[in-house]
Amino acid sequence: MSRKDGKNDGEKRQGGRKSRSKQGAPRGPGSKRPKTPPKTPKVERNPRENPMSGATQDLLQVISEGGKALKGKKSGLSEELLLGMYRSMVQTRLLDERMINLQRQGRIGFYVPSTGEEASQVGSALAFEEEDWIYPSYRVPGLFLQRGVPIERMVANCFGNDADLCLGRQMPVHYAFKDQNIVSISSPIGTHIVQATGTAMAQKIKGSSGVTAVMFGDGGTSSNDFHSGMNLAGVTRAPCVFICTNNQWAISVPQEKQTASKSFAIKAKAYGMPGVRVDGNDVLAVYKATKSAVDDARAGKGPTLLELVTYRRGPHSSSDDPTRYRGNQADEWMDKDPILRFRKYLENQDLWSEVQENALHEELKAGINASVKVAENAPQPALETLFTDVFEKVPPYLREQYETLVQDEGTGHEPDPDAAFPL
């Protein structure tokens, strides 16, 4: 946000405080509610005092913010790969838009958008080999698409139907894709970080040349298992790459309330591994940094922490309203579109045109539409899937519960159309 906006914001915040205290006063039986709802406080962000906000000059970059190749920086990637990355980024954006719309229309229950973070997802994905294992966060659809997960599988998951590999047992976007070595996502933050270290240790024990990568956000670095995982990987020199996508917000909490460190990358030092800050909106810089960390891990040089600095332009999830805590933010980051930046780069290299852009959008939208149509018409998972996969074999007491359910209530269970998730 501009400094002027910041000042206005501060005034609003004070007003909000007054209203809030008024609202908080004990109410007698005859007291009235305030006519207008109180203004909510907004987090004031001062770029000058916050060493991490806005500043991009210390970040690893390959493409300038204007889309030009920086002097002496080459991607080293073929035209085919570059265009493939661009395709995944656009596909991610279009999927995001469509899924949010479906959620707003009540056709899917929940979604986690990642608008503005496409470069950090797609750039990383390209650096991994097939044998590598990935522990994703819940905000990396671009990684899945770039790694070859069929889009219809992702859409099926969002509908929780019987084509969903997770059989509708989790909320949307909590994917698991064994075929691509993408480990099941859970909702508790950070638990997967130390699991990734364990998988990397297992790769070493079993003599695989594979490495493991784990993605988490700025908020995730405050979790117990960030420490456990980084520490264990540092000690064991496990072939693990820790990727912190710093999108600057953990729901409503800004990064400066998450840590007093000068950066997230600097935390690597305490665990005896390198930490690298990367412009997370520069897809080629993300690729370059991830590839280097992956190569090091594969070569037995141990783990690395990457901090991909980007910005969460949208809400935390379909249930979140960011105006509650950051207003209608005109933050400078809102204009830093990683897709536009890469598109300009490709155009500057004579690799891309308006005609191609339009054709790509049409093709990708048609693909998403087709997937949605199929997913929406697919049946719910069968009733017995409520009881399968708790253990390898269904034990007698679960079989008994299933049989009692069918006997007492039949099989015609319809979902509650009014159920909505609050977070």
Partner: protein, 325 residues
């Protein structure tokens, strides 16, 4: 066959499984060079090396989290939590991750792993070296919970647990770690099937359910009851989840009277579930109300430990209640 302790039985089980399956690895605090604070992992590092017997940093959540990562990749880790009282930092990993991995991924990813941990009182360990946490785990879907009561079962059940495709919480009753000793088979193929209770003493007048170190107490109580002319049956559950419900119902159907015994606090304890199952499914055969003998609903005490722990005389009082109802 020589006579061995429960500690040695655990050690033998680990060695045999590690010899027959290279994917079995052990990790935890002090499990390597020191061989574990109770010596359950003694000599493993010498035979299998530091890559398969891993001294970890001091972080329970880290130990279990890393083991989960190993298990989903295809290893069969056997992490040790030094005392079950220290398991709580790993509770999130156990209940949110390990227990749900198979279900939430549609069996794409699984956690074949065994968490070994000593539990229970009777060693003068006070608040934080004495607790019995089984109910926290039996309440979580997806966990198999096993509690051996002697060296024979400890070895056979641990070997079965390591071969299980599902995650197992393996609670070792540390009060009987070093006594009694018992003859235990040395055959590689010897296992004790998970999910089967054992009748330790046959009787016709009343049933006592017990597990872990409480089995011994139940047997003593039956000896005391015999002097009063009552013939008690002791059902050692061995596996808490899945419960051998058939054996439970069969025993109470025969005796018509039930005393449940556990050293964990009474309220919401595992034995309350046994009581409820019998009430739901076999109330018509019961000749007296069910009695629960358990620890008190207090934190585990140090000096007054001997008062807290259920003992044979206290169990006998409950037997008296159900026999004279």
């Amino acid at each position: 066959m020589s006579q061995i302790t429960l500690v040695q039985a655990v050690n033998d089980a680990l060695k045999e499984e590690m010899r027959s399956d290279n994917d079995v690895v052990v990790l935890g605090e002090d499990v390597g060079v020191n061989g574990g604070v109770f010596r359950c992992t003694a000599d493993l590092v010498e035979e299998f090396g530091e890559e398969r017997v891993i001294d970890t940093p001091l972080s329970e959540s880290g130990i279990i989290g890393a083991a989960i990562g190993m298990a989903v990749y295809g290893l069969r880790p056997v992490p040790e939590i030094q005392f079950s009282d220290f398991i709580w930092p790993a509770f999130d990993q156990i209940t949110s991750e390990m227990a749900k991995m198979r279900y939430r991924s549609g069996s794409q990813f699984t956690c074949p792993m065994v968490i070994r941990t000593p539990y229970g009182g009777g060693i003068r360990g006070g608040l934080y070296h004495s607790q019995s946490p089984e109910a926290y785990f039996t309440h979580t879907s997806g966990l198999t919970v096993v509690v051996p009561s002697d060296p024979y079962d400890a070895k056979g059940l641990l070997k079965a647990a390591i071969r299980s495709p599902d995650p197992v919480i393996f609670l070792e009753p540390k009060r009987i770690y070093r006594a009694p000793k018992m003859e235990v088979p040395e055959d590689d193929d010897y296992i004790v099937e998970i999910g089967k209770a054992a009748v330790r003493r046959e009787g016709t007048d009343f049933t006592i359910t017990a597990y872990g170190a409480m089995v011994e107490v139940a047997l003593k109580a039956c000896e005391l009851a015999e002097k009063k002319g009552w013939n008690g049956e002791v059902l050692d559950l061995r596996t808490l989840v899945p419960l051998d419900e058939e054996s439970l119902i069969a025993s109470v159907t025969k005796t018509g009277r039930l005393v449940t015994l556990q050293e964990a606090p009474k309220f919401s304890g595992y034995s309350s579930e046994l009581s409820a199952i019998v009430a739901e499914k076999a109330i018509d055969v019961m000749e007296a109300p069910i009695r629960r003998v358990a620890g008190f609903d207090v934190p585990f005490p140090y000096t007054l430990e001997h008062v807290y722990m259920p003992h044979a005389e206290r169990v006998l009082k409950a037997v008296d209640d159900v026999m004279t109802f």
